[in-house]
Structure formats: structure tokens, C-alpha cells
């Protein structure tokens, strides 16, 4: 638990728009942060990308819709989508219940290693959240 009251796992990298990224064996899993999930409150629809879609760092990849509003989902990195979390189609509430685990959004094969430096560490992201209050 970060000092902000939101979970910010140390082993992930983040965007200012509240997405996270985690690399395992060359594949990057992405999702939205605990802060984003709690701010949206009740996620009721997730529009997922398709396997094979090309995505660009910080460009739209899908949408997350809560009872109150629609938010765009931005890709933390450029690359090709390899897998999407189909479970979210029938259980969008997983994004709220478990934003870092069962509520992951998609996996991608990154195309540009140099883009990692544009992401925030857990510490930087916590500082970024503090500025939003």
C-alpha cells in the first residue's frame, strides 16, 4: 500500500494516465492502476483491442466505461497485441476487484526497448498521484 492509500506495486512501471506494465519473458502485460479503478468506481464495460492490433505508446488501445463515464485506455508501450483478457467481456468488475491481477487488460510484444524510459517507477507514480490531490 502506497502512502497515498492506493496500491502501487514496486515491480510494475506506470503511465501518468494510470496504466501499468509488467514484462515477463519478452511479453508485456498491461492494465489500469488501483487509483484508476477506484476513481472509476464501477467498471461495467471494457472495450478491448484485438490480437494482432498494432498499438503506439500513449495512444488509445481501448476504453473502460464506468456507470458515470467513459475513459480511454492508453498503451504504455508500442507493439503488437498478443492476447486480451476475454474474461473482462463478461466480468468487467474484475478491473475493480483486482486491477493488477485478474483484471489485467491485454498482453503485447513491445517493439521499441527505448520506450521503457518514458514510464514511471512506482515511486515516481506515487509522487505523480500526490500532485493530483
Amino acid at each position: 500500500m502506497g502512502s497515498s492509500g492506493y496500491q502501487i506495486p514496486d515491480d510494475l512501471l506506470y503511465t501518468k494516465e494510470h496504466e501499468w506494465a509488467k514484462e515477463t519473458n519478452g511479453t508485456v502485460r498491461i492494465g489500469i492502476t488501483d487509483y484508476a479503478a477506484k476513481t472509476l468506481n464501477d467498471v461495467v464495460y471494457v472495450t478491448l483491442p484485438k490480437s494482432g492490433d498494432s498499438v503506439t505508446q500513449f495512444k488509445t488501445l481501448g476504453t473502460v466505461e464506468s456507470i458515470k463515464a467513459v475513459s480511454e485506455l492508453f498503451s504504455p508501450l508500442s507493439g503488437t497485441i498478443t492476447t486480451v483478457n476475454e474474461e473482462l467481456t463478461s466480468h468487467p468488475e474484475m478491473v475493480n476487484k483486482s486491477p493488477y491481477h485478474e483484471g489485467w487488460i491485454a498482453e503485447l510484444k513491445p517493439s521499441d526497448r527505448s520506450e521503457w524510459r518514458n514510464l514511471l517507477t512506482a515511486k515516481d507514480y506515487a509522487e505523480h498521484l500526490a500532485t493530483l490531490k
Binding site: D42, V44, Y45, I67, N96
Partner: protein, 371 residues
């Protein structure tokens, strides 16, 4: 700086806050779905102290209000809660409100927070000498307790026999020893009560907080997000979204509030003209299998031509689908009809309905009256 209600001391420790109509209000305490379903199946608690409360007193009160409302006010016994409208001269809807008749010479009007000052301005224009119109919003607090368990939650706190208080009736009584007006009313579609705590200011909020905290032990505090999904699921209109000064009662389905034969109220001449004309638009509900309609989205016919507009939309926690209220061309408005809603460029199939959106044998205040 936004204003706060008497119950802000509770909200700031328990809720995600939002600004609404100039007030810092609770948006949710837990989740919208949880709070919504608490009201549909048990009981939920809302701070509605931000809503305007206007006290009208004096010998000519009843005659004066008769000239303000398109709905017949009297002769009614004290203890009636009357849902009605304020119109402008063109029959546009200035506000919708509830008029609580405390006595022949005392009414409390409960109006929308965002419209309170416009209402006062409009009503003051016609105020005769001998009738006083006073804004008591800051001197009183108002709490809505809604849901099928509302009566059993409130009864231990008041000597008023609630079983005898019928829907849209009100009475002066005490709640936890505090002077209060209790009405059997609300805007969620469920049975329930609205409680005006007579003596509670932002500087001295203790009386209101005591009532709220006691009620919150056996009901779920609910924020504005759930208040919106509940009223929409019940098919109840929100002023400023589903209607405004530019819409008349006929095109939003509120003609049942116009007492037939009544004349001499503000807007009555325009209403009589409208009665004799064809109304091009009708209010309907829409249900989508995919996507959520939002305010301003287009309603489309089979050839993707716009035939109407969504005036408010949300996700229904009961149906687990997107629902909305719309105004559509009257000739295409048959309930059950198939239309589409343009959701951010994608045309989503939708079905026209007559709200409420839920099954009235399972949810809503009428359920117990069903065979």
C-alpha cells in the same frame, strides 16, 4: 468555494466527494452498484439537504400557489405532498418540485438545488402582500430514506405511526426528539420517506448528524451516483438533463400533472394552445444490449437518420444493461419499437420502452400492491 450541507462532517470521512449545484456532495461511499441494490432490496440513506426548501406562509398561501402550479392545489387536507411543476409563460418547465402542505397557511416547497434561485425569482414576481416566501434551505436539513425496509428502519425513531402515512402524504412529528416533517415520498421508485429536520444549520449541524448517524446503522449511505441510476431506472426525469425551460410538459410525458380545466396559472394560456396542437416529440425509455447511452447521443432509425436524442443514460444495475431516457419523433415512438443509438460512432441496437425499466412485481413501491 463550494457550499456544504449539514452532513458534510460525515461525508468527508466516508465518501468520495463531488461538486454538484454549488455543493460539495457525496458521489459514493462504497460502489454505485452496491448502494443502488441496497435501495432496491433493503434501505438506503441520502443527504438531500442541498435541495432547495422554500417556506411559503400567510393567509393567501393556497390561492397564491394555485396561481403558480398547473396542478390543482386545493381544497386538500393538510398533510398532502403534491408533485408539480413551475412553468414560464411559454409553458417551458422552470422546475419540478414537491409542495408539502403543512397547513392551509403553510407550505414547504422542495425544489431542485440548481434551480432554487430561479424559482425564487420567478415566484417572487407574483407574490401578493400577506404571503411570505422564505428560503429555509440553510436552516433545515433533509434526509431521504428509501427502499422496501424504510418503514421498519425509521419507525423506532419516531412516534408517528408510519403504517398510516400513505404515499405522497406528510406529517409534522419528531425524529429522535427533533422537530421534523416526514413525508412518504422520494425519487428512487421505491417506497420510502423524506425527513426535513426543522432546526439544523451548517454551523449547528448536530441535530441532523444525530438523525443521519442513527439511520445509517440500519441503512446504506448512498451518494449522488446511485441517486442518478435509481431515478433513471425508475424512469423519473432530471431537470436540466431530461427537461428544461425550453421543453413543455407534453413532450416529456408530464401532461398528467396538468389538471384539466384549470386556468389562471403561470403558463396556462400556452398550455391550452399546446393541448390543441400535435406534439411532435414523445418521451420514451431505451434499452441497449451493448453500450451505454449518454446525454446528447442520437437516436437513429433503420436508415441511420436521427429521430431523437438521449436526454439521460446510464448502466442499469438491475438489468445489467445500458438504459436511457430519450425524446423521439412521436410517430416512431411505439413501445417495443426497434431503433439504434449512436454510441461514439457505433450504431447500437436499442428497444423503445415505457419506464420504469425494472419489473414492477419485483422492484419499486408498487410491488406490494401486485397480486
Amino acid at each position: 468555494m463550494p457550499k456544504t450541507t449539514q452532513l458534510f462532517g460525515y461525508h468527508k470521512d466516508h465518501a468520495k466527494l463531488t461538486e454538484f449545484a454549488g455543493y460539495e456532495m457525496p458521489l459514493w461511499y462504497t460502489t454505485t452498484t452496491e448502494e443502488h441494490m441496497a435501495v432496491r432490496t433493503k434501505a438506503g440513506l441520502f443527504d438531500v439537504s442541498h435541495m432547495g426548501r422554500l417556506l411559503v406562509t400567510g393567509d393567501g398561501t393556497q390561492e397564491y400557489l394555485e396561481k403558480q402550479f398547473p396542478t390543482k392545489v386545493g381544497p386538500q387536507p393538510a398533510g398532502k405532498a403534491l408533485y408539480t411543476l413551475l412553468l414560464n409563460e411559454r409553458a417551458g418547465i422552470v422546475d419540478d418540485l414537491v409542495a408539502l402542505k403543512i397547513s392551509d397557511t403553510e407550505f414547504i416547497l422542495v425544489v431542485n438545488a440548481a434551480n432554487a434561485s430561479a424559482d425564487i425569482e420567478n415566484m417572487s414576481e407574483h407574490l401578493p402582500s400577506g404571503v411570505q416566501l422564505v428560503d429555509i434551505t440553510g436552516k433545515t436539513a433533509m434526509i431521504a430514506l428509501q427502499g422496501p425496509h424504510a418503514q421498519e428502519v425509521l419507525q423506532p425513531l419516531t412516534p408517528l405511526p408510519l403504517r398510516e402515512l400513505k404515499r405522497l402524504r406528510c406529517a409534522e412529528t419528531e425524529v429522535l426528539g427533533e422537530a421534523a416533517v416526514v413525508s412518504r415520498s422520494g425519487y428512487t421508485g421505491e417506497d420510502g420517506f423524506e425527513i426535513i429536520v426543522r432546526d439544523a444549520t451548517v454551523e449547528r449541524p448536530e441535530n441532523a448528524l444525530r438523525v443521519w448517524e442513527q439511520l445509517s446503522k440500519s441503512s446504506a449511505p448512498c451518494g449522488l451516483a446511485a441517486r442518478d441510476t435509481l431515478r433513471l431506472e425508475a424512469g423519473l426525469l432530471l431537470h436540466g438533463s431530461d427537461m428544461d425551460q425550453g421543453t413543455n410538459p407534453f413532450e416529456v410525458g408530464l401532461q398528467w400533472l396538468l389538471t384539466s380545466g384549470k386556468t389562471g396559472y403561470v403558463g396556462s394560456e400556452a398550455i391550452e394552445l399546446l393541448r390543441m396542437s400535435a406534439i411532435p416529440l414523445a418521451r420514451r425509455g431505451v434499452v441497449l444490449d451493448r453500450g451505454i447511452p449518454r446525454h446528447g447521443f442520437d437516436v437513429l432509425d433503420a436508415s441511420d437518420t436521427s429521430v431523437g436524442t438521449i436526454t439521460s443514460g446510464t448502466f442499469s444495475p438491475v438489468l445489467r444493461k445500458g438504459i436511457g431516457l430519450c425524446r423521439v419523433k412521436a410517430e416512431l415512438s411505439a413501445p417495443g419499437g426497434k431503433v439504434a443509438v449512436s454510441v461514439r460512432g457505433s450504431s447500437e441496437e436499442a428497444r423503445l420502452t415505457t419506464p420504469p425499466f425494472y419489473d414492477e412485481t419485483v422492484y419499486g413501491w408498487k410491488r406490494h400492491a401486485q397480486p
